[in-house]
């Protein structure tokens, strides 16, 4: 049983911070975080055998379909340790993919410790390092864990040594578990209690709770996940969100086990959810600090650094009438995905939509799918682009996130493109292959270190656009999946970039403009005009499809005029049927857009864009 402590002189059934442990499970993608969470839930009795399913914390359909974690997910466990005491464990399962590292860093802010997992058959990989550094920077206590020791290809000793090497400890401190068989889980639970620090906060101080996640519930409004740093929240308390100044009250507070369970109070060090009934989405922000209205904290918690979108793309509803619904959906999704940023954008070809910033291509794909599924939208995305810096001849400098914003070539003094610092970890046998690939993508090599005699860590500086588009796929395929990659923004560097426009009957189709390196311009232009020639139906006249840099045409195709489009035989008897046939054809035409006197079915634009991805 949980032993009550005093708050404001009143007895509440809260857990003493000394018996709370808050930790995230972090690792490279697929190293078994969610499966390990399953075992912890199971071993502590949080979930019955009947309700158990693999990666139970991957609750979203998309997560289950793809077998990856997209959203960090927090859950509370009660663990009776060998010392006979019951501990409250607040666990956050995090995603491993590089695009979701913002989820990891937010989760870490709510914790004192982290389980750093490594797959015993794979060893340390790029996000193992990246996430380890995030935890170290955050001052978290790390428990290194080698997972999947049941695998025949497991090399727990080698991997434990690698881990110890990067954390600067001894291999003996590395735990060995199998999230599949449950081996080593008891020891891990004991280590969590023994080795991770208890939360420190001041129970008597004014309330400070960090909003580390939130989502929108149609009935209850915004639901926030909070970590209490100081003080406590009681049900019904008058609250204030310090950054937005929102005054509200705690309609309901509770915890997830993972089933939601309302509680009377959430005390210092605890993690739980908060429902205020607020429906104004923009008044509740991830990273904000919640305090009491009548006894506000003097200072807010540090909050979160703004996420830095790496890739931008236009998102448009295929049905123009859905623009408002898309706006609403983005607002709501942003609550649950604070890395999402967007602003309205207009396209002649695609109508009204938004330019959306993403952390990477997977993030882009996921956002789009979530919008389509959770908000029942049908969307089309324009080719992703990175943000370029343009220096004008008149000395002005600005950023462009969409090819449309690019000034005329004559006004441009220079364009700079974003570079990233990339880290690649791979078996040493692939060094040559990787160097070749990186070089072909304009990469500049930095340091190379051996993690072990067989594994190297290579450092490169590369244009972000190369990484975003196909570097990673190439890297994976050329190293048969053995290489992993992590990257972070570096600086901007001058580059020979041009905007390629695609013209239909002489009129540019904005959705297809793209900023590319000059050496790629012809390839892009040619591919695009060929594709459009195939996809756009023949018109009543010949239609040129051209690719151009400024006024210079670099590729051209012609859509030949259509010659025959007539019902051959129409007689008294089948007038109704023929009228209905024409009617159906006409319905198809409704979705046509006029571009330069050319009728283009929305689907042609959409397919052309889809092929691009």
């Amino acid at each position: 049983m949980v032993e009550p402590v005093e708050l404001h002189g009143l007895p509440f059934p809260m857990t003493a911070p000394s018996r709370i442990r808050n930790f995230s499970i972090i690792a490279h993608i697929d190293h078994g975080k969610s499966t390990l969470a399953d075992r912890l839930l199971e071993r502590t009795g949080a979930i019955s055998e009947r309700d158990m399913r693999a990666q139970v914390l991957d609750e979203m359909d998309l997560e289950r379909e793809r077998g990856i974690t997209i959203k960090a997910n927090a859950v509370r466990l009660d663990y009776v340790a060998s010392d006979g005491e019951t501990y409250q464990l607040n666990l956050i399962d995090t995603p491993g993919h590089v695009d979701f590292s913002y989820e990891v860093s937010r989760s870490l802010e709510a914790c004192e410790g982290a389980l750093l997992l490594v797959d015993a058959s794979q060893g340390v990989e790029a996000q193992t390092l990246a996430n380890a550094y995030l935890a170290i920077e955050g001052g978290l206590e790390i428990i290194p864990v080698v997972n999947k020791i049941d695998l025949p290809a497991a090399e727990p000793d080698r991997v434990a040594a690698e881990l110890a090497g990067i954390l600067g400890g001894s291999a003996d401190e590395v735990l060995r578990v199998s999230a599949k068989t449950g081996e080593g889980i008891d020891e891990l639970l004991e280590a969590i209690v023994d080795r991770l620090p208890a939360p420190e906060g001041d129970q008597a101080a004014p309330l400070r709770a960090l909003v580390f996640d939130s989502f929108y519930d149609t009935y209850r409004g915004v639901v926030s996940h909070v970590r209490i740093f100081d003080g406590a929240i009681g049900q019904g308390d008058g609250l204030r969100f310090m950054a937005t100044g929102l005054d509200t009250s705690a309609d309901e507070i509770g915890i997830r086990r993972p089933r939601t369970e309302p509680v009377e109070t959430l005390g210092t060090g605890e993690v739980g959810y908060l429902v205020t009934g607020v429906k104004e989405i923009d008044l509740i922000r991830v990273g904000d600090t919640v305090t009491h209205r009548d006894r506000p904290a003097a200072e807010a918690l540090p909050g979160y650094r703004e996420p830095k979108p790496m890739v931008f793309s236009g998102l448009f509803p295929t049905d123009g009438d859905d623009f408002e619904r898309l706006r609403d959906a983005l607002e709501k999704l942003r609550l649950n995905d604070s890395a999402l940023i967007y602003q309205p954008e207009t396209s002649r070809a695609l109508g009204f939509g938004f330019r959306v910033g993403f952390l990477g291509l997977l993030h882009m794909e996921i956002v789009r799918e979530r919008l389509e599924r959770e908000y029942d939208l049908d969307l089309v995305a324009t080719a992703p682009s990175v943000a370029y810096r343009v220096n004008l001849t008149d000395g002005e400098t600005f950023m462009i996130r969409s090819p449309q914003d690019m000034p005329e070539p004559g006004k441009i003094a220079s364009i700079e493109e974003p570079y990233v610092k990339a880290m690649i970890i791979a078996p040493a046998t692939y060094i040559g292959t990787i160097m070749e690939l990186a070089q072909s993508r304009r990469g500049e090599m930095g340091e190379m270190t051996y993690l072990s005699p067989e594994r190297v860590e290579l450092h490169y500086e590369l244009p972000l656009s190369e990484i975003v588009f196909d570097f990673f796929d190439q890297l994976k395929s050329r190293t048969r999946g053995y290489a992993s990659l992590d990257y972070e923004p570096a600086d901007y560097r001058p580059s020979d970039l041009v905007r390629v426009d695609i013209l239909l009957n002489g009129v540019p189709v904005d959705a297809f403009s793209s900023i590319v390196h000059r050496s790629e311009a012809y390839r892009y232009g040619k591919a695009m005009v060929e594709r459009l020639r195939e996809l756009i139906p023949r018109q009543l006249f010949d239609v040129p499809v051209q690719a151009a840099i400024g006024s210079r045409i670099i590729a051209r195709e012609t859509i030949k005029a259509k010659r025959k489009d007539v019902i051959a035989k129409c007689y008294g008897g089948d007038v109704t049927r023929k009228r209905k046939l024409l009617e159906r054809q006409k319905e198809g035409k409704k979705r046509m857009k006029m571009v330069g006197q050319v009728e283009v079915p929305q689907e042609a634009f959409i397919s052309a864009l889809k092929l691009d991805q």
Binding site: L540, F541, K562, R563, K564, D565, V566, I567, A568, K569, C570, Y571, G572, G573, D574, V575, T576, K578, R579, L582, E583, Q585, K586, K589, K590, M594, Q597
Partner: protein, 400 residues
């Protein structure tokens, strides 16, 4: 007696035809089903076929008696199926029933579609006796390969002989139907067919692009990977026949129809003008009192219904104003004569879609008529008309 020499594309004729009353009789029997055909037909062994043609003729005569009086008729047309599967006596009985029920104008047109293999000099004489003055042969091609591809029974010589025989017998108008754009038929072979046709000194010529109708054997084989008709090849074929027909003194008056002056098909001109007509037989469609109705297609069902004294209807549609507007333009613009400029036409030509069609040389706005100048893309015009009528808030659609 020489018919009045009026050009088939004469606008006055087109407008006048819109007022003609006519009757259509559908004869569903066929020796076999052509792979491209989706008309209401029965071939031997199918339900109702065993009842025989006599029972069918009786049923049609009985159905004629069920129609409200009307007329007099300007045209009577027999189509199919294969009307020439009926005896001339049987056909004559139906013509007689129509004359009695509705009356006919002086010089009424009585036309029949005939398959070449059914033709004999004797049949010709009997048809003339029965009052027929117009025959159209389902020739389709003079190319043996194409005929085989189309699954036809006759050969090119049979077709030529039938046409010559009809000529000699003294029918007022003799014409043929051709099909172009069969996959694999190159332009040379098509031109040869056209030349052989024109050498017959025809009064009338219909040439239809091979159309893949849903549910036909042709459609199934194409879905399974056989080559489909190529629209560019069809366009070449159309242009070729257009030039050759005109050089031979024929005048085009509808997308797919040419006639020597004085030899237009009255029945067809009436239907393209939106005129009303009565129709009898299994699968027949009529148009009376603002309603388009259709008979059941199944022969056995048709016979049963008529035998029990009820009209064998399968469905009907009352044309609301929007549908009537659409039909007036969609059908009317298939004619070379085009349509008279009315409010709807004025709206069409200022509509962006209409303006584009004018700019592309598809539509020409004349002083008092709107005409289609590029008949091969007429459906573009039809869809623009539909879209225009759709957007018109003053009309509302109601379907029954």
């Amino acid at each position: 007696m020489t018919p009045p020499v009026v050009r088939p594309d004469d606008p006055l004729l087109a407008d006048e035809a819109a007022r003609w009353a006519s009757a259509y009789v559908h004869v569903p029997f066929c020796a076999r089903r052509c792979p491209y055909c989706d008309f209401a037909v029965v071939v031997d062994g199918e339900p109702g076929a065993d009842a025989g043609t006599d029972a069918y003729v009786e049923a049609v005569v009985a159905e004629i008696a069920m129609e409200r009086p009307w007329g007099p008729l300007h045209a009577i047309a027999f189509g199919g199926g294969t009307p020439s599967r009926l005896s001339a006596v049987a056909l004559g009985r139906i013509v007689g029933a129509l004359r009695r029920r509705f009356g006919v104008v002086d010089g009424v047109e009585v036309a029949i579609e005939v398959n070449p293999e059914d033709w004999t000099d004797r049949f010709a004489a009997e048809l003339l006796d029965a009052g027929f003055d117009r025959v159209s042969f389902g020739v389709q091609s003079f190319d043996a390969h194409t005929l085989a591809w189309l699954g036809r029974v006759h050969d090119p010589h049979q077709a030529e002989a039938a046409v010559v025989s009809a000529r000699h017998a003294g029918f007022r108008s003799v014409g043929i139907d051709l099909i172009y754009g069969t996959p694999g038929e190159d332009l040379d072979r098509w031109v040869t067919t056209v030349r052989r046709a024109l050498a017959l000194d025809l009064d009338h010529l219909s040439a239809y692009a091979l159309t893949v109708e849903r549910g036909t054997a042709l459609s199934r084989s194409i879905l399974a990977g056989a080559p489909a008709p190529d629209p560019d090849q069809q366009a070449d074929a159309y242009e070729a026949i257009g030039e050759l027909a005109v050089a031979a003194g024929l005048v085009r008056y509808e997308v797919s129809n040419w006639a020597r002056p004085g030899h237009h098909s009255r029945y067809n001109l009436a239907t393209w003008g939106g005129a009303e007509f009565v129709a009898f037989g299994a699968g027949a469609h009529d148009h009376r009192d603002g309603v388009r109705a259709r008979n059941v297609r199944r022969l056995d069902v048709y016979l049963d219904r008529v035998a029990s004294g009820v009209r064998p209807r399968a469905g009907s549609e009352r044309l609301d104003r929007a549908a009537a507007d659409v039909e007036r333009l969609v059908l009317g613009l298939r004619r070379v004569a085009g349509v008279r400029r009315d409010d709807l036409v004025e709206r069409l030509v200022v509509d962006p879609a209409g303006r584009r069609l004018v700019a592309a040389g598809v539509l020409r706005v004349g002083p008092d008529r709107l005409v289609v100048e590029r008949p091969l893309v007429t459906d573009e015009v039809s869809r623009a008309v539909l879209a225009l009528v759709d957007r018109d808030p003053s009309v509302s659609g109601d379907d029954c």
